[in-house]
């Protein structure tokens, strides 16, 4: 039993090392919140290395233009084959003000 648990934990550890979940790519990064569309109040995150993420949901307290944050989330890569993007749509799982 102990061995089985060890194998399972090892597998989980390996999976997280590669940053892959069954349905997407795990991202851990930091960046600045930017207002993308003032009319519909949508925001994007621009990171220091100029990657752009589009949070599919963003808590109200983080909706501030220029706010610096660290975040963790998942990109559903399977749904991005035949699209045009302005940034990567990301489901935010954790976010903190810097």
């Amino acid at each position: 039993m102990k061995a089985m648990v060890s194998i399972m934990l090892l597998s989980i550890g390996l999976a997280s090392l590669h940053g892959q979940k069954p349905h997407g790519l795990v991202v851990k990064d930091s960046g600045k919140i930017c207002l993308a569309d003032p009319v519909n109040e949508t925001y994007m995150i621009r990171t220091r290395n100029n990657r752009i993420y589009l949070p599919l949901t963003l808590d109200k307290k983080f909706r501030q233009n220029g706010l610096k944050v660290t975040f963790e989330g998942t990109i559903d890569t399977a749904s991005l084959k035949n699209v045009r993007l302005a940034g990567f749509p990301i489901t935010i799982e954790k976010m903190k003000k810097q």
Binding site: D37, N40, I52, T77, K81, V83, R84, L85, F88
Partner: protein
């Protein structure tokens, strides 16, 4: 004198019998080419050969050139139509590559299935995609013969505040159709607006996209779709992705889920306030129409997350030979010197099938045009206006 006449008259008669008119010469070329293709297409040895041999053989069968004028003159000839039929049948033989699972680790032996291919490049695709040939070295007569028209039904989705339907949407849609036509006309592909409707629905406006809510998307398309087996249905919403589309080889083809959805701000004449005004030129629908007609991203290569190290775009890319390999996508700027792959050629940042901002996107290549035309013949033949 009499002896001269005796010699000349039979010579003239004989000469007249043996020399062919340009029309007759063209018909002969068409018949010879048709027979050559059929012979090789039916050859068990060639069907069993490896893909390099098949490609080499069919590359060598390129038909001798016929002036465009003469080509038009013989368009109604039975032999010409026979050749078009042969090419159409051959195109339908392009199939999935058995055992092929990803772009990486491709084994040439995977491609030894009995299919006929006439292109110079390995036309490799993921196992969930049908293949169409890449364009290198291949000119089939079909490419220059057919004309295509895409009927378009626009569905404007707005929220209860009216967002999504403010301003002169009819003018923006007319401008958008004109932009599509200006970039596709060189491939004999045109777009024609057939209807426009407006629906107010907050849920569809905000969530009807694969990235957010597949159920809302299905509900919207099922409710509004018009003749998807013949018509391109375009939805404008507030999607977080700029645009999304259906590939022609997907099982959704011809159903209500055969569609294009774009963020309404990206329609021609969009506001400068949306993402810094980078997407006001109507290029998103040009890009998505490319997907609808079978084009991949120029940085295609196994991972849509284009900055991922898993990306293999330098190796195989978009399966079009005249778009240089590109490994990463660009959301900003228009750096003509960008070169993400060691293979020859800078990244095609000006290509419509990349992610650069609208003011950078200006071109399709001839290879992409050929790929779209062949895709239409194979998968969306209903768009052909002069079918055989």
């Amino acid at each position: 004198m009499r002896s001269l006449v005796t010699i000349l008259v039979p010579a003239l008669i004989l000469g007249g019998c043996t020399s062919r008119t340009p029309r007759e010469k063209a018909i002969k070329k068409v018949e010879d080419y048709d027979q050559a293709i059929k012979k090789d297409a039916n050859s068990p040895a060639l069907r069993a050969a490896d893909s390099t041999t098949i490609n080499f053989k069919f590359d060598s069968l390129e038909m001798q050139s016929i002036p465009q004028q003469t080509l038009r003159e013989i368009a109604d000839e039975a032999s010409f139509k026979n050749l078009l039929t042969t090419e159409k049948e051959l195109l339908s033989h392009w199939e999935k590559i058995p055992g092929f699972k990803s772009y990486a680790n491709l084994q040439i032996t995977d491609t030894t299935s009995p299919v006929i291919r006439r292109c110079g490049a390995f036309d490799r695709a993921p196992d969930d995609a049908e293949r169409v040939p890449a364009a290198r070295g291949m000119r089939s007569i079909s490419l220059d013969f057919y004309k295509y028209e895409v009927p378009v039904a626009f569905h404007i989705i707005a929220n209860r505040k009216g967002e999504g339907n403010k301003g002169d949407m009819n003018q923006r849609i007319a401008d958008q159709i004109a932009i599509l036509n200006s970039h596709y006309s060189k491939f004999n592909i045109s777009f024609k607006l057939v209807s426009t409707d407006v629906t107010t629905n907050d849920s569809w406006f905000n969530t009807a996209t694969k990235a957010v809510s597949l159920s809302a998307l299905k509900e919207m398309t099922k409710t509004l779709s018009k003749n998807p087996e013949k018509v391109l249905n375009v939805y404008t919403t507030n999607s977080p992705v700029l645009g999304e589309s259906t590939f022609p080889w997907e099982s959704d083809k011809g159903t209500s889920m055969d569609y294009i959805a774009i963020n309404y701000n990206t329609l021609a004449g969009g506001p400068g306030t949306f993402i810094g005004g980078k997407y006001t030129g109507g290029k998103t629908l040009v890009h998505e129409a490319g997907h609808f007609l079978g084009l991949w991203h120029t940085f295609e290569g196994g991972s849509a997350y284009c900055n991922s190290t898993a990306n293999n775009g330098c190796g195989i890319g978009d399966q079009v030979d005249d778009t240089p390999p590109q490994k990463i996508c660009y959301f900003d700027g228009c750096d003509l010197n960008a070169d993400s792959c060691p293979t020859p050629g800078n990244d095609p940042v000006k290509n419509f099938m990349g992610y650069n901002p609208d003011n950078c996107m200006t071109e399709f290549t001839n290879g992409q045009g050929d790929r779209m035309k062949l895709t239409i013949i194979k998968y969306r033949y209903y768009l052909v206006t002069n079918p055989i």
